[in-house]
Each structure stands twice: as C-alpha cells, then as structure tokens.
C-alpha cells in the first residue's frame, strides 16, 4: 500500500493551561480532498498553523510521503510543498498579478528582474487553470473574490504537494466559487492533496472526498463524504456536553428597551435586520464567522454608518451617528476585541475604567479622585477583579481581568442596553463563570442585554431568546423552549 501523502498523528497543543489540540490525527492521500469541519474554536486553525509552521506542536508527528518531518518555520513548510491559503488577502495591491505570484522568488536575468518571463509563466498557469485573467493586471483592479483566486494561484505556482484552504469561499461570488472548484479538481488530478476548511456543508458535499470533524481539539468523526449525512455532521460538530458553570436565575422581563427596524448597512452587507430586546432580557446573537453580527452591533453603536432603518429606544426613535450619541442614550457596546477596541493597554486601570465617563470625575482642573476611586473599588469588589492597585497597567492583566475592567467601564455608566460581543472569548473557565454571574445580575437589575457569541452553549444557557444571523440577515429567531444546537446551526448555515 502506498504511503499517505500527509499524516499527522497525536498532535497536541496548549496555550497556557488551555488545551486546544488533544491528540488529533489527520491523513490525506494523493489527489484527495479532505474537509476539516468544526465550530469556531474547535482547533481547526491551530492544527493548520502547526502544519504551516506558524505554531509548534507540543507533541505529535508529521509525516510527508511516509517520512518524518520537523516543521519549525513557515519556510520549512514551504520546502515540504505545503501551501496554506489564509482567509485574509495578503497581496501587494499596486503590483501586477505576475509580480505578486512571484513575490520573493523573482526570476533574474543579468542581475535584473526578468519580468517578461514571470509574466509569461503566470499567464501560462492562469490559462491552464482556465481563469479569464491577464497576468499584467494590477491586483487593485480585481474584485475581492478574484484577489482570493490570485492568492490561490500564488500558492500553487510553486511546486505544491499539499494545499490547505481556510474558508476560501467566504469572499467569493457564485461564479468565482465555481472557478475555485475547477482549480481544486485540476490540483487533485495532478496528485496534490487538499485540506479544505469551510462551514458551508453544501460545498463540502460537492467538493470533498472525506470529512474530518473536530471538536474541542479531538477528532470526533472521520467519514466518507458519500456516506455522510448533514444532521449527523452537525451533531458531531456541536454534540459536546453542556457544562454547568452558567448562572441563570428567573426574573421578570419588562417592556421593549431597544427595537431595531429594517436596519441596513450596505457597505458591510447588512440588510433588513429586525430585532428587539426587553428590559431584563438576555438576547443572544448566534451565527458563523462572516454572519455580520459584530458589524450589525457596531452599526447600532454608531461606529459604522447605517444606510437605512430605524432605532427605537423606549418606543421613541433615536439618532445615533457616533459612539458618544449611543452612550448618551444609554446604549453601550463592549467589543469582542478588548485589546484593540476596548482598552488603552499602555495606561493604567484607573485611566481605562474612567475613560468613558470622564465628565463625572473631572471638572475643570479638579479631578475627583475620591469618586473615581470609589467607583473602581466598587467594581473591583463586585466583580472580584484581581488587581493590586488601580495604577496597574491594563496590558499586564489576564484576559479575564481585562474583560472585567471593560465591563466595569461600561457598567459605571448605568446603561439601559448593553451589547456584549463575545464576552468570554479567550478567557479562562473561572473568569467565564464569573462573567456569567455578572450578566445574570445585570438582567436581574433590569438591564437589556445583547450577547453576540460563537459559543452555542453560552447562548443556550444564558439567553431568554436568540436570533441567528447568516450573511448579514437575521435567518431565524428562537425562544428559549426551542433552543437546540442543531436548530441554531441549521439556521446559521441556511443559505439560499
């Protein structure tokens, strides 16, 4: 029997105490397309980054053509014929397709760049793949989807054995997707092995030979695509045991606090979003990456511009053009990206906690250190934030404590509506549970809460109601009684 093209065995990887991969196995044959399927955070990206030499595995072996290989760097991966196509486009926009394809390994003639030869070879490759492109076109002039295709051409232009595609179709149109599938078929005919990551089940059924399902860092299923059933895959993906660190007490739900009507933001592809949230209610927003949940919330908060639609607060229309408008109305947004959008990392806790509410603490040359200090003390105790002094630098805190600082900053304003975007992302289990307690207490105090989360158990266990988004639209609404991971995932992958 021929050796497997790629074999990764018993791969383990931890970040701190968090075990992301726990003995995962993957095999790819020559000319085979293997799908990697799993929820956000299941460990797909980590696995791929280990193969690509970006991360180093704590344990486990990688065999290529039956030979044990050590892949310590991106160039090691390249030398072994591994090509990874990431979701983000990393091309030089003002250079031609040919210049991008040969970036870093340009042909030379008499010590100068031989651009004619590069163009000729790029064009030959493009023609071979049957794509209607000219090699001398500037990348900037191409639509986003075609840029993604150029990225793929670049990856396979050098001798490739294994090509990994991470959500390659997320920015592709229907026609471009077909082009991509054409490329994949040509690659497999040449004996290249393809690892294909996508949430889109339809695509997996069309293009892949085998589907590997991973969950919480372990392989939970390895099925031939022909024999796989959709429901079975979804079950394998989400079927984890629900842990019991959620806090949820019954309390009354009041009037509608915020109502969003026919909300559109064309630039971000958000169309006709309708939803509402009541006082004392926790409303979840589920969906896959690219469902535009964060963009929707940022548009409500005034960071992004809406193109049409209305916002009603307490039944009255409010105009929000910038974050300060939203804050004045009592709507606050705790971003999913604490480090970039939540905190000034180089400054101390006091600075960060007071930043959204300086009017309260600074009155012309007089800083009310007492009130400021009391606020910090109140939240420090309430949320058991582990800090030794309010002068500690925010960047030095753990993820959980940083998140509590961000929450304190917002809650000190006593908002009517609080939007929590991935409130527990990258946070250890202990802090997570504490944040759930905070959310429950907030709801008990009558705050209207919106949680955007990619962790389904979080939504199922914390929310009264949830909306599911898919590609910039609300694709469904579920009441607590109807919550199930399967139902949510079906709505989240529901595409026409």
């Amino acid at each position: 029997m021929a050796e497997k093209l790629l074999k990764m065995t018993n791969i383990c990887k931890s970040f701190g105490t968090n075990k992301v991969l726990d003995g995962i196995e993957i095999e790819v044959d020559k000319g085979e397309v293997v799908a990697l399927l799993g929820e956000n955070g299941a460990g797909k990206s980590t696995l791929i980054k280990i193969l690509g030499g970006i991360y180093h595995a704590d344990q486990g072996e990688i065999y290529i053509d039956g030979e044990l290989k050590t892949i310590n760097s991106v160039s090691d991966a390249g030398d072994n014929g591994i090509r990874i196509i990431h979701q983000e486009i990393v091309l030089v926009p003002d250079r031609s397709i040919a210049a991008n394809v040969f970036l870093g390994r340009e042909y030379k003639k008499n010590g100068l760049i031989d651009s004619k030869r590069m163009q000729r070879e790029t064009q030959a490759l493009i023609d071979e793949l049957g794509i209607p492109l000219r090699a001398n076109t500037l990348v900037r002039e191409l639509p986003l989807g075609m840029q993604q295709i150029v990225e793929i051409i670049k990856a396979i232009s050098a001798e490739a054995k294994i090509v990994v595609m991470d959500e390659p179709t997320s920015s592709l149109s229907h026609a471009e997707t077909e082009t991509l599938f054409g490329i994949i078929q040509r690659l497999t005919k040449k004996g290249v092995g393809v690892v294909y990551i996508s949430h889109r089940l339809d695509e997996l059924f069309r293009i892949t030979d085998r589907i590997l399902v991973i969950r919480d860092g372990i392989s939970v299923g390895n099925v031939k695509t022909k024999e796989a059933r959709r429901e079975e895959l979804v079950n394998m993906m989400v079927g984890r045991e629900l842990t019991s660190y959620y806090t949820r007490n019954a309390h009354d739900v009041g009037d509608i606090a915020l109502e969003v009507k026919d909300f559109c933001n064309e630039a971000d592809g958000i169309s006709n979003v309708n939803f509402h949230v009541r006082y004392g209610e926790v409303v979840g927003f589920a969906g896959l990456v690219g469902a535009k949940r964060t963009e929707t919330m940022k548009t409500i908060f005034g960071v992004k511009k809406k193109t049409s639609g209305k916002l009603l607060l307490d039944g009255k229309e409010v105009k929000i053009n910038k974050p300060s408008d939203a804050i004045k109305q009592g709507i606050v947004y705790a971003s999913e990206d604490r480090k970039q959008e939540g905190l000034v990392l180089m400054n101390d806790i006091e600075f960060n906690m007071g930043l959204a509410n300086l009017d309260e603490y600074i009155k012309f040359l007089h800083i009310d250190k007492k009130a400021w200090g009391e606020m910090i003390k109140e939240y420090k105790e309430k949320f058991s934030i582990k800090i030794t002094s309010s002068k500690q630098i925010a960047g030095d805190l753990s993820g959980g404590n940083q998140q509590k600082v961000v929450l304190s900053k917002w809650l000190a304003l006593h908002p009517k509506v609080i939007i929590l975007d991935e409130p527990t992302r990258g946070i250890d289990v202990g802090s997570k549970s504490e944040i759930y307690e905070i959310i429950d207490e907030l709801a008990a105090n009558g705050c209207a809460i919106i949680i955007v989360s990619s962790e389904l158990p979080e939504i199922i266990n914390m929310c009264n109601r949830c909306y599911v988004m898919c590609e910039g639209k609300v694709s469904g609404e579920l009441k607590e009684a109807d919550f199930s991971q399967e139902a949510i995932m079906t709505m989240a992958t529901n595409r026409e």
């Binding site: 960071v303 974050p323 300060s324 400054n347 600074i362 040359l365 030794t388 002068k391």
Partner: protein, 340 residues
C-alpha cells in the same frame, strides 16, 4: 514582582517618582554639564546659564505644543515656519502699518491659531498624514512670511513691543555671581513666560479631560472612539493650541531680536522634536510627560550652549544633536523591548 512594583509606585512621592521615571535623561543631562564644566572655564557661570535658559525659552514654549502632537502619535513640523510668520506679521503691522500694539498682538496670535486650525482640520477631518499636512503648511507659512517681508528684514522700534521680551527682572544681592562682579544678575521675563506655559501645559495634560483624551487617542485611538470620545475634535484642538503657542514664540522672538528676518524660526521644529523625543516621549504616541520634556529641552540647551562656549563650530552642533537623538531613541527602544 509586578505587584511590588505597583505598590512601590503608589507609595513613593511625586519627586522620587519623577527621578525614577526620567533617570536616564537626568543622568545624561548631569554628564553633559560635568563635561562642559570641566572642559571650559566660562560654561558653569551664573550669567552663562541664565543666557542659555533664556535662549531656549522659545523652544520650551513650542515644545508644549510639540509634546501634544507627538503624544497623539503625530507630529507638527510647521512650528518653525509659524513662529516666523507670526513674528513677521507682528513686526509688519507695528513698523510698516503703524498698527496699534494690542491689535498687532491679537492679529499675530490669530494667524498662529488659524495655521493650527488648518493643520488640525487637514489631519483630523481630511485624514491627511500629520507629517504631510504640516509640511505643506510649513511651506505655505514660510512663503507668506517671505512675501510680506519681500526678503528685507523689518526693524521694530515700538518700545512696548520690544519690552515684551526685553523686560528684565533684577535679582538683588547677586552681584558676586555676575561676570564683572558689580552688576546684579537679571532674569529675562521670557524665561517666566516659558515656565508659566510649561506649567499650564502640565495642568492641561494632567488635570483636565482634554489631557486624558490626548493620552487615550495616542494610546489607542479606536478604544478612545469606542469610549465615546470625539476623537476628531480632540485630534484637532492640540494643533490649534500649538499654533497659538508658536505665535507667542514668534512675538517673543521678534521682540527679543527687535526685528524680523524672513528666516525667523527656521529649523525650530528640529529642536522642539529633539527635546520632546529625548525627554522620553514615544513617537508612536500615548506616553510622554511635561517633566521629561523639560529635561529634553535642557539637554538641547546645554548641548548647543556648551559647544558654543567650547568654541565648536555651529555646523558640528547639528551633528551632535543628531547623535544625541539617536542615542535617546535607542535607549527608549531598548527599555521597551526589555519590558516585553
């Protein structure tokens, strides 16, 4: 470790804190002083030191604005040109148009504020990179300055105007410290202007919302915006203030020289940027203090004065200033990378 440090910082007083924070630059300043005091006879005299401080007072005033621009992670290279233009406008109004003294001051100040407003608007609202925007206004300002002067220098004969910088405060009982041993020392009033403006800048940065916003924008503009801060407005305002400070500098410098040439203020931006950067302000924004900047101003002052007293050619002074900047920034980078 981290815990001990933060507790120590909390308990120690402001002066100790200041020396701790600025240890490197203070040490540099002391070393420079020792070198010049040992190698030259005339450096470490009371009158020389007073002259040195007076000659750098305008730089100190400009630095108040430059510090804000750099704290936001930006820069203002138009300051020297604005000093020149505002000085020229004042002199032209007084001498050529026989304008009222106060009116001349007000118009000069307005010109400075308007240049600052243009800078701020281009940077904050039109999103032109600060370097490019202020490069353009630098060129415009210098051009207008030359147009007004027609290339000829303007003498100022207005006594009130010349008294702005010419007023001296005699310190009684200091006869023994002066060069000839008979006349008591006197402090020029421009030193007092500089000290007042530095103190006001400290208040502004440390005791007002404005200051907190500047640090927040410099540290993380997105987080500042998400916290409800009008980042555009607070990006613009420091430039307006800087324009105003440059006008004050221009008026003082013109008054001190009792006349204006079209080259007034040329390369002042270099000294201001140098002083702020040497003073430990990060070019990427968010961190830096008035206290550190004062040390930076003093280092620049000591360096040029000391080299002068040593008889070093002024062309060489530029070379030394450049080297000091590189050393200061390398130390800053090393210190930061060590932290990580």
């Amino acid at each position: 470790m981290a815990n001990n440090k933060s507790i120590a910082v909390k308990d120690s007083n402001a002066v100790v804190n200041y020396f701790k924070k600025n240890f490197g630059v203070i040490l540099g300043l002391v070393i420079l002083n020792v070198i010049f005091a040992v190698t030259t006879k005339n450096y470490f005299t009371a009158s020389n030191i007073l002259t040195m401080l007076q000659n750098n007072a305008v730089n100190a005033i400009i630095c108040c604005g430059m510090l804000m621009a750099i704290l936001m992670g930006q820069i203002d290279i138009s300051v020297g040109s604005t000093v020149g233009l505002t000085g020229m406008v004042g002199a032209y109004l007084i001498t050529n148009l026989h304008c009222n003294f106060f009116l001349a001051l007000v118009i000069s100040l307005l010109v400075g504020l308007i240049i600052g407003l243009i800078n701020g608007f281009c940077i904050a609202y039109l999103k032109i990179p600060a370097f490019v925007a202020t490069l353009a206004t630098m060129s415009i300002g210098r051009g207008v300055c030359k147009i007004i002067s027609k290339g000829i220098s303007i003498r100022i004969r207005d006594d009130a105007y010349n008294a702005i910088a010419g007023t001296k405060i005699v310190i009684p009982g200091t006869e023994a410290l002066s060069a000839n041993g008979r006349v008591p020392l006197s402090v020029s009033v421009i030193l007092i202007y500089a000290i007042i403006l530095l103190a006001l800048t400290w208040l502004l940065l440390n005791k007002t919302k404005f200051g907190y916003y500047i640090y927040a924008i410099g540290g993380n503009e997105t987080a500042a915006k998400y916290s409800g801060i009008d980042t555009k407005l607070y990006n613009l305002l420091p430039y307006v203030i800087t324009g105003g400070l440059c006008a004050v500098g221009g008026i003082i410098w013109a008054s001190k020289l009792q006349g204006v040439q079209s080259t007034l203020g040329e390369s002042f931006e270099m000294d201001a940027i140098s002083a702020v950067v040497i003073g430990g302000t990060s070019m990427s924004g968010g961190s830096g203090t008035v206290g550190g900047t004062i040390i930076g101003i003093l280092i620049i002052a000591v360096l040029s004065n000391g080299l002068n007293v040593m008889g070093v050619n002024s062309f060489w002074q530029d070379v030394f200033k450049g080297i000091i900047i590189i050393v200061a920034v390398v130390i800053d980078v090393l210190r930061k990378s060590k932290k990580r």
